[in-house]
Amino acid sequence: MNIIVCIKQVPAKDAPLSINGNWIKESDIAFEMNEPDSYALEEALRLKEKHGGEVIALSMGPERVKQTIKEALAKGADRGIHIADDNFAQLDPLGAATYLAAAIKKEKFDLVLTGLQSDDHGFGQTGVLLAGLLDLPHATIIMAIEAQDGKMRLKRELEAGWFQHIECPLPAVLSIQSGINKVRYATLKGIMAAKKKEIATITPQSLGVTAQPTQKVEKIYVPTKTKKTEFLTGTPKEAAAKLVEKLKFEARVI
């Protein structure tokens, strides 16, 4: 089973964000693999271990993205594809999916996996858009995959604790729910092996498609507070004592 995993690189979770117009200042902050995508990668590696085939890590963005592809290779992906684009952060979901779909079309694959959403833009559309652009069946928020005889039995999460099984033919595109598996760490052996693995770099221009913007982030800003928070200060002991006082006599909830 040949699987392409789409992986985004995003600002590290604890990175201090400094707003610059409609994006952030990228200098001085660390980037990391989008956490929801790490579950998709893990699922791809597990499917490969069971069914054979290869796992391709596909990512788009500036040069720094190579580091995230290398991490995927160290965990066990067989090769990487990097669509090199310094303006990636300015693409809308359909634009990003247009380039990813064009790169995917050049490969032989059975399955395309994405994470549920990115921790930066958080649109959560890439998987569904890829299915549309590749004209493939898809399913999202997947909690289990059983592949057999050219089709899959999937467990899909619905809201409020409900689940549903669905049957889906291959090839297909799936968006993986976070928590579907336990993500592995790269081993030293894996890190060494990754050095010999191939990362193909391609430009968006070479893909023969042009994305027209359909939407634009005009600006980002820290939201203004709607609720007045009373901050309790002092040592942890003092703050805790004040809080208990407030909960007892002001909010009257304990």
């Binding site: 964000l17 619905l158 889906c168 033919p169 005009e218 800003y221 942890p236 208990v244």
Partner: protein, 329 residues
């Protein structure tokens, strides 16, 4: 402008966020001198269509077909594309449900359009609609505009608008118009099966008046007893944000948020929870919210009544002690 709201039902029961989106549409319509129609898809929907006709809408569009009885992304995309091409709405609004996330971006793309998903509000800037959504897990807001010609697609986050503010139809009932759908079985590539729930959980957090919830700030499973001690001293239940349950540190039944439980306790004490939107939608109805987080810019403080900016590992033992003391006094 013509606004179309695509409502959502499952097994002929409303997803109530449909009415929140309808309220949003009515408000946008007032702001922009527009009309609102509402569509519903499925089978055997006359009573739900009648519910919609009782609201202030220009018409109810009823898309019934055997193949729409159970939701599939293929079936919904085919049916709604036909509806949009025949009725030509300018703005199509959806509740940002799991189901909408599963098909709406593709529907928009089939028409060559983009979708601004998961919006929390909108602004009318001299005739130009600006949609507001969150980025960076709720740490920032973003103003987003459409760049191409109509139709435009957008979805609203649960809780962004109030369902009880939907305007009723003051002149009787709006007309319900059946729309024929050309859909064949081979167009639907996935086969949905029955819905199910995992084994019934022993704890019902929705009934708990006092909840102590932990997030990533707890760092490791061996630290959880410290939070459990706070819960015990308070006489409350322990709960968590998604990452904690994903890691298997607490069972899934203790998860609060869009994919877990929605709760509205008397007191919600959030320890080391940043306040990502997926979590906040599950607990913002709490009467009193307390947040302890070492990052003073954490979005959880946006909705907290009381806040302590500190390391939870220093606050938890102090709080346990203070609660014990209050109990015994």
């Amino acid at each position: 402008m013509k606004i179309l709201v695509v409502t959502e039902q499952r097994q002929n029961k409303w997803n109530n966020t449909s009415f929140e989106t309808l309220a949003a549409a009515q408000q946008i319509a007032k702001d922009t001198s527009s009309t609102v129609s509402a569509a519903i898809l499925g089978k055997g929907l006359s009573s739900l269509a009648d519910d919609l006709a009782g609201k202030n809408v220009s018409e109810v569009l009823l898309l019934e077909h055997d193949l729409l009885e159970n939701y599939t992304p293929d079936g919904y995309c085919v049916a709604l594309k036909q509806l949009i091409e025949s009725t030509k709405p300018d703005l199509i609004l959806f509740p940002h449900s799991y189901q909408v996330r599963d098909f709406a971006p593709k529907l928009a793309a089939q028409l060559g359009k983009g979708m601004i998903g998961d919006c929390i509000g909108y602004k009318n800037e001299s005739g130009k609609l600006v949609f507001v959504r969150q980025m960076f897990q709720g740490k920032t807001n973003a103003d987003v505009t459409f760049q191409s010609a109509a139709p435009w697609f957008a979805s609203f986050q649960a809780g962004a608008f109030r369902a009880d503010l939907v305007e009723p139809n003051t002149s009787g009932k709006a007309s319900v118009n059946a729309v024929s759908v050309n859909l064949s079985a081979e167009q639907i590539r996935t086969k949905p099966q029955d819905l199910f729930k995992e084994a019934k959980s022993a704890v019902d957090l929705t009934q708990a008046p006092l909840i102590v919830a932990i997030g990533r700030g707890i760092k490791a499973p061996e630290n959880i007893p410290q939070a459990e001690a706070v819960a015990k001293a308070l006489g409350g239940e322990i709960a968590a944000s998604r990452p904690i349950c994903d890691e298997g540190w607490l069972p899934m039944e203790r998860q609060i948020g869009s994919s877990g439980q929605t709760v509205a306790p008397k007191l919600y004490l959030a320890l080391g929870i940043s306040g990502a939107i997926q979590h906040v939608v599950g607990m913002k109805g709490a009467r009193t919210i307390v947040a302890v987080n070492k990052d003073q810019n954490a979005p959880i403080f946006e909705i907290a009544d009381y806040g302590i900016v500190a390391d939870i590992f220093e606050v938890m033992p102090a709080l346990t002690e203070a609660l014990e003391k209050a109990k015994n006094s």
